[in-house]
Symmetry: C2
Subunit: 538 residues, 2 copies
């Protein structure tokens, strides 16, 4: 027997309509690509999204068509999110840091019909001329005055498109399982794989991340998403901001520490979200200023693990850290790390031992850790195995790549992250399945070694890979970047590590480099390090 | 094209499973019916709900069967919520304050197969012996030691049932639209009508009420739901508490001001939710103590309007008020009243003019006000019309009463509440459609008059009804209860009112009574007042 409740579907357009009604005058601030700060409201955003939806329909784009965006976090990108998904199109966000050939592959694989592109990324699209056969329209996300010389005549101007349309539009109603957005994740092997979100998954995920136990969003929060809108929909923050009336401050292309500090400081940002790499820059700016941005209360750290050093640095400036975990396939929120009530009384080491964990699952996500045979492992904080998750905002497959072995018949997605789960439910990632180092039949966690290394004051960044070893199979190699002005020795680092890890975990060698190779999402590319340093023994 | 996301249904069992995993040791405290304080955890609750689900299955109850509860807010009632809905049964909560004949009608209409009943309400069930033909089992919600003498031998003991079962159970998976619970709402005319909630509507509503812009629930909140579990599922708080790991403090049968104060004070309650009638009692206890309960931060006021007097009284003790609106048909949350950012700077009168409003819609609920022809009225804060709402947790019909005129083909539910909506989206209920007074062709709001009356220091409670008038059609009559120790005069009250309302709104007469007649949900029964005072003119 079914309940007698309204069968209204969960649709992305409704999140914006809600914001425009209940939070009409809430501000959205953008550091534009063109230079000036732009300010308007959720009501304005709704009107312009309606104009854009009409314009896209006039271009002949129809239900289910994929529309690519290659753009920074700006008000225009935000409008594009809602205009595309809201009108039944699929918003396909593309990471501009990918190799142009990968971009061409992705556009072709998705069969994108149109591309909306920021001024700064226009050269990328122009360089791909003739290599994007599915694309019928390119829209440059700027106004007429900023359209560059020499742009092909057929390229359209975003503001011209909007100006030609009335600011009303009836958002269509359709099945909530309808595809809403598409994001390719670059695996270390093979071509990028597309994760195809639905309206349902997006709205449910918005609820989950907005809860007090996660990002705690609401109209008294000024949120600056540093995490790009081309990376897992900026962790879903645009939609969650709409359902909660959160004030948004969009950083545009300026993601360096000084620019972020300045924007946060001048514009009352209370909360921000991004990856550790970005926070290194912000912390540097905070150290220079001797303080945190004026209103900043909390940063959400995800994408890769937050070290104790980083958490302590933020706390030293009076800024809380929310450590979270997820991936493109998980929308992304899977776990968030908050101290359980009562744990505030823990001593310093115990407290940080908790905070460096990725945390407990949020409602909606089920998780387990399994051994190589798929058997569930105990939640004792010791046993480690591959993390599997499932729930309404976890992917069930990749776009046009059926039968990927990461997805099983029971709905579990195998993350390739290796973790422990303690009796209180706190998950801690110890490695990626492929990054674990197997030495003498035992596992060494590259992440644990990296965290121990960056806890040394003279080391800014560290990466550990396994190198082939005749006797042990593999042995760890530490590749480190010295802190500014510091000149650490191999010996000093090993002495430091010996205080933190088992003796047999100690790296065979320590190599100092000027910088680590970073991938398109800002993570260290261990594949490149392996190519360079992990040549077969002998 | 559909997204490629896991199709996991939204199920109530998962809310409890989540609480038991991520918030295993979070406490649930109960003032038991038997007397002592009972303490256990969400993990314990999960184990016992599993035992109860097994026991109910052993009694022959099957998917879709209705199981009645007649019980206070206790840990056993909480277990029953999850055990019934979680296993595919329908949890039918019955208001024990209804007339026994109405209870018999409701049980028969729902065809309840079993009744779980608290010790204190056992006499009600025994008095209905022979009048409940659908009922095969009666379970007394206590342990063997407390089973009263003279109870029929076939009545079962709750704790005996649980003790016979192992504490594991595989919660079944089914369509999220499956009926989960049933609550009858007593209209002023005709028989009570059943609202049949679904798993989907319940889980979505839980997300909505837990957001920072609504009840803001989380593991650092100790919530005491005064609103009974037999009244719109205690406003959905048990499920929302489970998804957020909120600590629950259950008041059992002791809802008087002194008992509530004592329980809140001794058990660290930070937040509570209930109707104004209850808060009058608590405020009285706070006045006696000269302070608020130690940790109390906020009360949620719903069910009927919160007056400025009441809001000021709580704020005077340092307790925030969240004014909210909803009804049985809306799960119930429709709107919540929070000051928009920036409005804290409003002067005192402007601030309270906002706070006495029912607030803005939460995400998921659409609302409009319409004239008698159904045409939408402007959101100008002046035009008033009947409130219509729709969304995923709004009813689409009544159980086994098809084609009720309150529901239209577009999914709108006509609430019979009359309201204005201002340009910022704040809704203010001005009356029930049937309680508006039409005088000389113009409307007088009985609620506005009542609020103005209780703002007089010598008046504790007030009700205004229309009395027939030959010249004007109707004229208002004020029926008031004097504050303790006060002896207000008719003239003083009219002089006071003249400062607050238009002259033609002034009541024809003021009648002082010792108490107002209250219905089963604690609201003033205007029908009774009309029977007594509003005899036809002439």
């Amino acid at each position: 027997m079914f309940g007698l409740m309204n069968d209204a579907p969960l649709l992305i357009a409704d999140t914006l309509v809600h914001a425009a009604r209940a939070h009409a005058d809430q501000e959205i601030v953008t550091q534009t690509v063109e230079g000036p700060i732009h300010r308007y409201t959720w009501s304005d955003c709704h009107h312009r999204a309606q104009q854009l939806a009409r314009a896209l329909a006039d271009l002949g784009l129809g239900f289910g068509d994929r529309v690519a965006t290659i753009a920074w976090n700006t008000h225009r990108h935000l409008e594009t999110y809602f205009a595309t998904s809201g009108s039944g199109l699929v918003c396909h966000t593309i990471n501009p840091r990918l190799h142009p050939e990968q971009v061409a592959y992705i556009v072709g694989h998705a069969e994108d019909r149109a591309i909306l592109v920021d001024l700064t990324m226009l050269p990328l699209v122009q360089a791909l001329a003739g290599k994007l056969p599915s694309v019928r329209h390119v829209v440059v996300m700027t106004d007429r005055a900023h359209m560059p010389d020499g742009v092909p005549a057929e390229f359209l101007c975003y503001e011209d498109l909007l100006a030609a349309q009335p600011a009303d539009y009836d958002w269509p109603r359709f099945d909530e399982r309808t595809a809403s957005s598409l994001c390719y994740t670059s695996g270390t092997t093979g071509n990028p794989k597309g994760v195809l979100y639905s309206h349902r998954s997006t709205v449910l995920h918005s609820f989950a991340i907005a809860l007090p136990g996660a990002f705690a969003l609401g109209e008294r929060v000024s949120l600056l998403p540093v995490v790009p809108m081309f990376h897992v929909n900026a962790w879903g923050t645009p939609y969650a901001a709409a359902i909660t009336g959160t004030r948004l401050v969009m950083p545009g292309p300026r993601l360096d520490g000084d620019s972020l500090f300045k924007l946060m400081d001048s514009d009352g940002v209370t909360k921000s979200a991004g990856v550790p790499t970005v926070w290194l820059g912000l912390l540097q700016a905070m150290k220079m200023a001797g303080r945190a941005p004026a209103a900043l209360e909390q940063v959400v750290i995800g994408g890769s693990a937050a070290s104790r050093t980083m958490i302590e640095a933020f706390e030293g400036f009076g800024v809380d850290v929310l450590h979270a975990w997820g991936m493109t396939e998980t929308s992304p929120l899977g776990t968030a790390c908050m101290l359980k009530p009562g744990r505030e009384a823990d001593d310093k080491d115990a407290r940080y031992a908790t905070l460096v964990k990725q945390g407990r699952t949020v409602f909606g996500v089920q998780s387990k850790i399994v051994d190589p045979d798929g058997a569930a492992l105990p939640h004792d904080g010791k046993a480690h195995g591959e993390v599997k998750v499932r729930g309404p905002w976890i992917a069930s497959g990749y776009y046009r790549q059926p039968d990927d072995s990461a997805f099983d018949a029971d709905g579990w997605f195998a993350t390739a992250d290796v973790a422990t789960i303690d009796p209180d439910g706190y998950m801690q990632i110890v490695d990626r399945t492929k990054d674990l180092i197997k030495s003498g039949g035992e596992w060494i966690s590259s992440i644990d070694l990296e965290n121990a290394a960056v806890a040394h004051a003279d080391i800014a960044q560290a990466a550990v890979i396994g190198i082939p070893d005749e006797r042990w199979g593999e042995r760890p190699l530490l590749i480190a970047v010295a802190a500014e002005g510091a000149d650490p020795t191999r010996e000093a680092v090993l002495v430091h590590l010996a205080d933190h890890v088992a003796k047999w975990w100690l790296p065979e060698e320590v190599i100092f480099v000027d910088q680590l190779p970073l991938g398109a999402t800002g993570k260290v590319q261990k594949t490149k390090l392996r190519e360079q340093y992990a040549r077969p023994a002998g």
